[in-house]
């Protein structure tokens, strides 16, 4: 297949590009201090991405502990107490430590470049919001070593398991989540301020690349729901330490209220983890199909309607808590409705491919796998929306299969696609295609081996979050565990590929991909530290 790739654009035709020359403004600290104090959006973007990759591996190791214990029935490696800490930490780390920071990192790097801004609107705040993260997650991970262990109540931390019955370390868990939340909020403010105020002259909102659009909407979602999460965990903190009874029935509170509040945050949060992925895929598919994105405007409207609907569907996570009929019906209908804008997006991507001139670089392979596998997650999501059927699916491995399909080959594949797509811009070198293809195929096979059998074990009746299971689930679990190991190991290829690309490789011109149109491709590769010191001359493309 290597021979099928098109010739890369030559270096010559790229050096003529505009976009501000790189020149150092002032003395810069060197070594560690440089990274600690940097206010440059590219350096902070890099920090975010490295942090996220680290967390991805830590969360991945936790997942492998879980999968290793589930390799066969019986308790072999870990005890249930520790198992519960592993599932909880895996979820928390992946959601708040890996996926969200990865998207913020990509936004830091690419949003200023795509809108033609010299930097983020609030560079010092940017530095602060990044450095909150390592502190927050060091604290979170340290709870594992505290007496009574770390959080063991699942990433959804339902009260009263997470309040009255929680380990003593829960207060630290709340503190670290607060810090991670503040970091996301500050990141979101920064992104909104950048997008709304620093666009190149002449770039209207409807001229922005979709990655910028999806991030703008994501940032608004973050502003709307992260304070709700902060409120919920503050209530938990008060219940645990100050004797209030928000969620404690004994004091007149209501454990179900916790779930309502949590999912009022939690469902938009799910879209926070997927909307930027839509943006990345919407940049990559047109590039490698050499054809403008089909239905730009409808993509924007679909993203916005998904975001709005996300506030009206939260109780579909709670179909079995005993809701009245009217509520079940309402949340079933709104949830099903989400399939419409999501479908529009998938159709638009396919229409973009139709009559294109398609090549299969690694970035494109990941983007295409995203479309297919995310859609499979969408189908199981539609099945889960059907309230009566959800009485059977709820809290089984079917749900685990569903959300891993939308998050792993969904969000994470999109992030990887984005990395392979923008690596030439970041490093000035093309990533190794051969290595990239190995990484891609190993990942695709690994992911499907891991998560596809979970549909079956779930339907056959295996509840989630259990360290040991009945014998009829043994085969599925064995396959899943083998797949998980394969997926985990193949991510080392990714790290290798990225390092290799940073250190050298085929030189990339400014416009590294023939079909790429957005502003970031007008600055040299690698992008100098300072770009667009004078605003670029923006001409709307055919959106």
């Amino acid at each position: 297949m290597a021979s099928n790739l098109p010739p890369k654009p030559t270096l010559e035709h790229s050096t003529t590009t505009s976009g501000g020359l790189a020149h150092e403004h002032h003395e810069r600290p060197r070594g560690m201090l440089r990274w600690l104090l940097t206010t440059n959006h590219k350096e902070i973007g890099t920090l975010y991405l490295i942090f996220s990759l680290t967390m991805f591996f830590i969360g991945g190791i936790f997942a492998l502990v879980v999968r290793a214990e589930l390799f066969q029935p019986g308790l072999q490696l870990v005890q249930p107490e520790f198992f519960n800490q592993m599932t909880t930490m895996h979820g928390l780390i992946m959601v708040f430590g890996a996926v969200m920071p990865a998207f913020v990192g990509l936004a830091n790097w690419m949003v200023p470049l795509q809108v033609g801004a010299p930097d983020m609107a609030l560079p010092r705040l940017n530095n602060f919001s990044f450095w909150l993260l390592p502190v927050a997650f060091t604290l979170l991970l340290s709870t594992l070593l505290m007496p009574g262990g770390g959080p063991n109540f699942g990433w959804t931390f339902y009260a009263p398991l997470s309040t009255t019955y929680a380990p003593p370390s829960t207060t630290f868990f709340i503190l670290s989540l607060h810090m991670a939340g503040i970091s996301s909020i500050l990141g979101a403010i920064n992104i909104i301020a950048t997008i709304l105020n620093l666009r190149a002259p002449g770039m209207r909102l409807m001229d922005m690349p979709l990655f910028v659009w999806t991030w703008l909407i994501t940032a608004f979602l973050l502003i709307a729901v992260m304070p709700i999460l902060a409120g919920v965990i503050t209530m938990m903190l008060m219940d645990i330490n100050f004797g209030t009874s928000f969620f404690n029935a004994a004091g007149g509170g209501d454990p179900v209220l916790f779930q309502h509040l949590f999912w009022f945050f939690g469902h938009p949060e799910v879209y926070i983890m997927i909307l930027p992925a839509f943006g990345i895929v919407s940049a990559i598919i047109p590039t490698f199909a050499r054809k403008p994105l089909f239905g730009y405007a409808s993509m924007v409207y679909a993203t916005a309607s998904i975001a709005i609907l996300s506030f009206l569907v939260w109780a579909h996570h709670m179909f079995v808590v005993g809701l009245p009929l009217v509520a079940e019906l309402f949340f079933m209908f709104t949830t099903m409705l989400i399939a419409v804008p999501t479908g529009v997006k998938v159709f638009n991507w396919i229409a973009t491919l139709f009559q294109g001139s398609i090549t299969f670089e690694t970035a494109m392979l990941f983007a295409l796998a995203f479309v297919v596998l995310f859609s499979i997650g969408g189908f199981s999501g539609l099945m889960l929306a059907i309230a009566p059927a959800d009485f059977q699916y709820h809290d089984t491995y079917f749900v685990v299969a569903h959300f891993h399909y939308v998050l792993v080959p969904g969000a994470i594949f999109a992030i990887m696609a984005g990395v392979y797509y923008w690596l030439p811009k970041w490093t000035g070198h093309y990533p190794d295609e051969r290595l990239g293809r190995w990484h891609f195929w190993m990942s695709v096979i690994g992911v499907n081996l891991t998560f596809f059998p979970m549909h079956f074990s779930g339907l056959a009746g295996m509840p989630r979050r259990i360290p040991d299971y009945a014998l009829q689930f043994a085969d599925f679990n064995m396959v899943s565990s083998v797949g998980a190991l394969m997926f985990g190991v193949s991510q080392l290829l990714f790290v290798w590929g990225v390092i290799k690309c940073v250190r050298g490789g085929e030189k990339a011109p400014a416009k590294a991909w023939e079909g790429a149109e957005d502003l970031e491709w007008s600055v040299p590769s690698p992008a100098p530290l300072h770009t667009f010191d004078t605003p670029p001359d923006f001409k709307p493309v055919t959106h």
């Binding site: 609107a121 709307a224 304070p227 709700i228 409120g231 100050f242 209030t244």
Partner: protein, 188 residues
Amino acid sequence: MNPVQRTVFRTVLALMGMFAFAFALVPLYDAFCQVTGINGKVGDQPRSIANEEVDTSRYVTVQFITRSGKGMPWQLEVEHRQMRVHPGQPTEVNFAFSNNSGKALTGRAVPSVSPSQASLHLRKVQCFCFEEQHLEAGERLEAPLVFQLTRDLPPDINTVTLVYTLYPVTDSQSQLQAQTSPVRGGGV
């Protein structure tokens, strides 16, 4: 203010609004539950008898279940475990608390109604669950429950179950409860 500052100012305002909204959701949720009958919650204040004719053509079975939560050495007994009432008919049932332990203690009976839709049509005129009870060691206290199921109880509901779970009240809870009880405390 430059445009960036203006944007930041607005987003921060929205943020603070949303944080306050999270806390406002607690009483809002309770109000919502009381209006819609979600969760088997009704107000924790006594209500008057609805003046309406008793529907003698229809019987509804009312069950009473009493339970003790953790750390609660009391017994809550009810005169009748089950009774049949007509919609519209005010009914009185006697409950008895007894503290079998050797120490004085404050407790609360937390009510719940099933099916939850029935809570919309349940009016409690008098209930021990509106307040905390304090019992000396070995003390026994009789407390009546006066209630009425209104005539608009949906026809498909034939059985209404009232459950009371006894919980001990700790000092810190008691104080906070005193401040917040108008908005919280799922009383029926």
